[in-house]
Symmetry: C2
Subunit: 153 residues, 2 copies
DNA sequence: AAAGACTTGTTGGCGTCGCCAACGGTCCTA
DNA sequence: TAGGACCGTTGGCGACGCCAACAAGTCTTT
C-alpha cells in the first residue's frame, strides 16, 4: 500500500483520525519491513507461518497446517512446494489416512526458522522503536483484545 | 489474509507474540469490515481517499491527489474513471497548465463522501468495540507515534 | 532561443495476498 | 453400501501496491 511515501502534499485529516487508516498504514510499514527481511533470507510470506506451526505442533497434514496458520489449502500446497524445493520440509504419505500428507520440518528447516525468528525480532524493534517497553506491551495488549473479540468472525 | 478464521487448531505461539503479526491480523479484520462496508455503497478502496482529499483540499491535479493520498499516479487514473462514471467527480482541463486535469468533487460526490464517512464511523465502532474510549485513544496515539517515526521511509 | 531536465496523464504490465470452485481420491457413518 | 465429509491439487479471480514507458507540456540553463 505504498509503504514509503513522503511528500509536500498533506494527507486528508479525515484519514489521519481513522483507527482503521492508522492500522492500514502501520500494516504497510510492518509488511514492508517483514518482507524485505524475509527476502534477504530467501523466504517469504507463508513460509514462516508454516515452519512455525511445524516446529511447534510437530508433523501435520496440510489441511491442519492451513487451519492453524490461516493459510488457504491451495496456498499451502504452493508454499510447501517451495519449502520442499529448499529442503526445509518433507512431505510423506500418511499411512493411516491415505488422503493426507504428513509434513515435517527438517533440520535445515529448523535452522531457517531460527534465522527468520531473528529477522523478525529485528523487525519488531525497528517497527516499534519510538515506543518504550511498557508502551509496546500496551500496544500488544490492545491489539490482542481487539483480535480476541473478532476471533469468531 | 483470511480475515475470518476460527478453527480447532491453535495458532503458533511464535506468531501470537509478534506485534507485526497482531498488526497484520488486525489489519485483516479492519480491511474486511471496511471493504464490505464500502461495497454496500458501491465504492471501494481508493474512492474514499480521493473524495476525502478533494473535499478537504478543493480541486486538484491528479498527480497532487495521488501524492496526498498515497495512491500511485496510474491507479489514480483508474479510480477517477470510476468516480467520474458515477458522477461523483468532474475532470476538466487546467487552462494554466495544459498537462494537468483539474479534478473537482460534485454535489453527488459530497453526498457519497458523507455516506462513506458514516460507514467508516460504524466500522471503527465495530472494530474497537472491546476497547473503552480511553483505550481507543491510546491505540490511536501509539499507532500515530509509530507512523510518525516511519514517515520518511 | 534552443537544449535538456522534469512533470503530467495514461497505458500496460507485474507480484503478492487472500479467496473460491472444482476435481479425483479417500474415509467415515448412517 | 451409499452419501456425505474431508484431503491434496489445479486453476482462476480481484484488490492492492508498484514500476516502466510514452507523448505532451512546462521549466531551467545556457
Amino acid at each position: 500500500m505504498n509503504a514509503g511515501w513522503a511528500t509536500a502534499e498533506p494527507t486528508p485529516e479525515r484519514l489521519m483520525k481513522l483507527p482503521s487508516w492508522l492500522i492500514n498504514r502501520t500494516h504497510a510499514v510492518s509488511y514492508r519491513l517483514v518482507s524485505e527481511g524475509f527476502a534477504a533470507v530467501d523466504s517469504h510470506g507463508y513460509h514462516y507461518r508454516l515452519l512455525a506451526a511445524l516446529a511447534e505442533f510437530g508433523p501435520s497434514s496440510q489441511a491442519a497446517l492451513g487451519r492453524s496458520t490461516g493459510v488457504d489449502r491451495s496456498d499451502v500446497v504452493a508454499a510447501l512446494n517451495e519449502l520442499a524445493d529448499r529442503g526445509l520440509v518433507k512431505r510423506s504419505p500418511d499411512a493411516a489416512d491415505r488422503r493426507r500428507n504428513t509434513v515435517s520440518i527438517t533440520a535445515a528447516g529448523r535452522r531457517r526458522l531460527t534465522a527468520l525468528d531473528q529477522v523478525l525480532a529485528g523487525v519488531q524493534d525497528k517497527l516499534l522503536s519510538p515506543l518504550s517497553a511498557a508502551e509496546r506491551q500496551q500496544l500488544v495488549s490492545l491489539l490482542s483484545r481487539v483480535l480476541e473479540h473478532h476471533a469468531a468472525d
